[in-house]
C-alpha cells in the first residue's frame, strides 16, 4: 500500500517538473529563434549601423533603428511620468486609507483594468484622446503625448499592485514607532512607510516600464508611426514594437531580418529592465 502511494507522488512530481521546465523551453525557443533570424543582419550590416543608424529604408539596405529606440524610451518615460504618481497615490490610498469595503471594491476593479485588451485602449485613444489633443494643442493628435497617456493608464495595474504589496509588507511596528513619537498619519506615510517600501516601489516602476516598452497594438493606433525622432510631445513617432507589427506582414529577405534584429534589441532592453527589477532592487530588500 505504502509503496503505491510513493509511486503516485513520484509520478506527480515528474509530471509537474516536466511542465515547469517546458515553459523554460518555450523561453529558450523564442530566444534562439529571434537570435537566429536577427543576428545574421547584425553580422552583415554591422551593429553600429543598425543601432545608431538614423535611416530605416530596409528595401534600400538602410536598417537604422535609432529613432525607434529613442521613441520607445520617450513613450516609456512619458508613461512613467503619468503612471507613477497616479499608481503610487492609488497604492498608498489602498493600503493606508481605504476601509475594508473600499478595498474589496477597488482591488478587483483595478485587476479588471489589467484585463482590458490593449486594442480597446488604442480604440479609446483614437476616438477620444487623439481628437482632444488635435483640437486643443494642434498637430495631428497622433503623438508622443497621446501614446504616453494611453501607456500611462495601461501600466497602472502593474505599478499599483506591486507598490501595494511593497507598502503592505512594511512592518506594523514601524508605523507604531512613528505614531508613538507624535507623527501624523501623513508624516508616517511619507517619512517612514514609503521610504521603507522604496525598493518594491522602484521595482513596480521598472516593471511598468517593461510593460510600456513592450506594448504594441495600442501604441500603433495612437502614435502616428512616423519614422523620425520626435522633437515635441505633439510629434508622431514609431516604436520598436510598432515597427515590427506594421511591417512584418509584407517583409521578405533582408527586410524581414531587419525586423527580427529590431526584436533582438527590444528583447535585450526588456531583459535589462527585468534584471534591474529582480536583482538590482529586490535583492536589497532581503538585505
Amino acid at each position: 500500500m505504502i509503496k503505491t502511494k510513493i509511486d503516485k507522488e513520484f509520478i506527480v512530481k515528474i509530471i509537474l517538473t516536466t511542465f515547469a521546465f517546458s515553459s523554460l523551453l518555450f523561453l529558450f525557443l523564442i530566444f534562439s529563434f529571434i537570435l537566429f533570424e536577427g543576428l545574421p543582419l547584425f553580422l552583415k550590416v554591422g551593429l553600429k549601423k543598425i543601432i545608431f543608424g538614423f535611416k530605416w529604408a530596409p528595401t534600400k539596405g538602410s536598417f537604422g533603428i535609432f529613432p525607434m529606440i529613442i521613441s520607445s524610451f520617450f513613450v516609456t518615460f512619458g508613461a512613467l511620468i503619468i503612471g507613477a504618481p497616479l499608481g503610487l497615490s492609488c497604492a498608498i490610498y489602498l493600503s493606508e486609507y481605504s476601509g475594508k469595503k473600499m478595498k474589496m471594491f477597488l482591488k478587483p476593479a483595478l485587476e479588471l483594468l489589467a484585463g482590458i485588451p490593449s486594442v480597446v485602449y488604442g480604440f479609446l485613444g483614437v476616438i477620444y484622446i487623439v481628437p482632444i489633443i488635435r483640437n486643443n494643442f494642434g498637430g495631428a493628435g497622433f503623438s508622443l503625448l497621446a501614446t504616453s497617456i494611453i501607456l500611462g493608464v495601461m501600466i497602472l495595474p502593474t505599478i499599483i499592485s506591486i507598490s501595494f504589496d511593497a507598502i503592505m509588507s512594511v512592518p506594523k511596528t514601524y508605523r507604531e514607532g512613528s505614531f508613538a513619537m507624535g507623527a501624523t498619519k501623513w508624516q508616517t506615510i511619507y517619512k517612514v512607510v514609503v521610504p521603507s517600501a522604496r525598493s518594491g516601489i522602484l521595482a513596480s516602476f521598472i516593471l511598468g516600464m517593461g510593460r510600456a516598452i513592450g506594448e504594441t497594438m495600442a501604441v500603433i493606433m495612437v502614435a502616428g508611426n512616423a519614422l523620425k525622432i520626435p522633437t515635441s510631445i505633439l510629434d508622431p513617432l514609431r516604436t520598436l514594437t510598432g515597427n515590427i507589427a506594421l511591417e512584418l506582414a509584407y517583409a521578405t529577405g533582408d527586410h524581414r531580418m531587419g525586423l527580427f534584429s529590431t526584436g533582438v534589441v527590444l528583447l535585450v532592453i526588456i531583459m535589462i529592465l527585468n534584471y534591474i527589477a529582480n536583482f538590482g532592487i529586490k535583492r536589497r530588500v532581503i538585505k
Partner: protein, 251 residues
C-alpha cells in the same frame, strides 16, 4: 505624595468589541519614579499602558469610558500630537526605522519641526550619551540601524524618544527580546533615566519588577488587584491573588 502623580486613571473601562479588557481601573504613576505593571498574559497591563499615549486609537472597535489624566490634565483636552511627544513609548520588539542611525535619531526632531541643522548634532549626542550609546555609535552615524544588535537597537529606540524631550516614558516589555546581560544593562539604564523622567513599565518578569521599580501594580483579568510600593507588594501583599501570583502559584 498624592499630589505629584503625573499619570492617573479614574474608573477606567475599556472594551475591544465585546471583550472587556480593563475593568474600573484606578491607577496612578508618581513623578520621577519607576512603576511596574505585572500580571499574567492577557491581564490588560499593556492595554492600560497604551491608554496613556492613545495607542489604542489605532485599533478598531475600542471603547473607553472613565477618565485618564496626564499631568492632571484630562486626556480628552490634550492634542494627540502633543500628548505623544510628552509621553514616549518603547515597544516590545526594538523598532528602529530601516534608515541610518542618524536618520533615526533626528526623526522626532523633523516631524515636530525642531530640526535645526546646527543643534541636531548636539541633541543626538546628548541623547545617545543618556542611553550609553555615544561611544558605540559616534562613528556609525551612517550605518543602518537594522545592522545593530537587539540591545543596541532597543537603546537606540529609547534615545530616539529622548530627542523630543518627553516627560514620561512607557515601556512595553522592553526586555523580552533581549538576553539576560542586555536586560541587566537596560534595567540599569532605566534607573539612570528615572532622575529625569517618569517611567511606567509593563513586564511579565516579576524579578525585573522587583529589581527596578518603586511602585508595582498587579493586574488580573482586566482588574488592578493591588497597587503599592514594590517592597510592600513583594513582601507583604494584601490580596491573596497577588500573593498567589508572586509566589508562582499561577501565572
Amino acid at each position: 505624595m498624592m499630589n505629584d502623580f503625573v499619570l492617573s486613571t479614574e474608573n477606567l473601562n475599556l472594551t475591544y468589541g465585546t471583550f472587556h479588557a480593563l475593568k474600573n481601573v484606578d491607577f496612578s504613576v508618581y513623578q520621577n519614579s519607576i512603576t511596574a505593571l505585572i500580571g499574567p498574559s492577557g491581564c490588560g497591563k499593556s492595554t492600560l499602558l497604551r491608554c496613556f499615549n492613545r495607542m489604542n486609537d489605532l485599533i478598531d472597535d475600542v471603547k473607553i469610558t472613565g477618565n485618564i489624566f496626564v499631568n492632571r490634565q484630562n486626556l480628552d483636552d490634550i492634542d494627540i500630537i502633543e500628548l505623544r511627544k510628552k509621553v514616549g513609548m518603547v515597544f516590545q520588539r526594538p523598532n528602529p526605522f530601516p534608515f541610518s542611525v542618524y536618520e533615526n535619531m533626528v526623526y522626532g526632531l523633523k516631524i515636530h519641526g525642531m530640526d535645526h541643522r546646527r543643534k541636531n548634532h548636539d541633541i543626538v549626542e546628548k541623547c545617545l550619551r543618556a542611553v550609553g550609546l555615544w561611544e558605540d555609535l559616534k562613528d556609525k552615524f551612517h550605518a543602518s540601524a537594522l545592522s545593530l544588535s537587539e540591545e543596541i537597537k532597543q537603546r537606540l529606540c529609547i534615545a530616539r524618544l529622548l530627542t523630543v524631550e518627553p516627560e514620561i516614558i512607557l515601556l512595553d516589555e522592553p526586555c523580552s527580546a533581549l538576553d539576560p546581560i542586555a536586560t541587566m544593562r537596560v534595567e540599569e539604564l532605566m534607573i539612570e533615566l528615572k532622575k529625569d523622567y517618569t517611567i511606567l513599565i509593563v513586564t511579565h518578569n516579576m524579578q525585573q519588577a522587583a529589581r527596578v521599580s518603586d511602585y508595582t501594580g498587579f493586574m488580573l483579568l482586566g482588574e488592578l488587584i493591588e497597587f503599592g510600593e514594590t517592597s510592600q507588594i513583594f513582601t507583604s501583599p494584601q490580596d491573596s491573588k497577588t500573593e498567589g501570583y508572586i509566589t508562582g502559584r499561577f501565572g
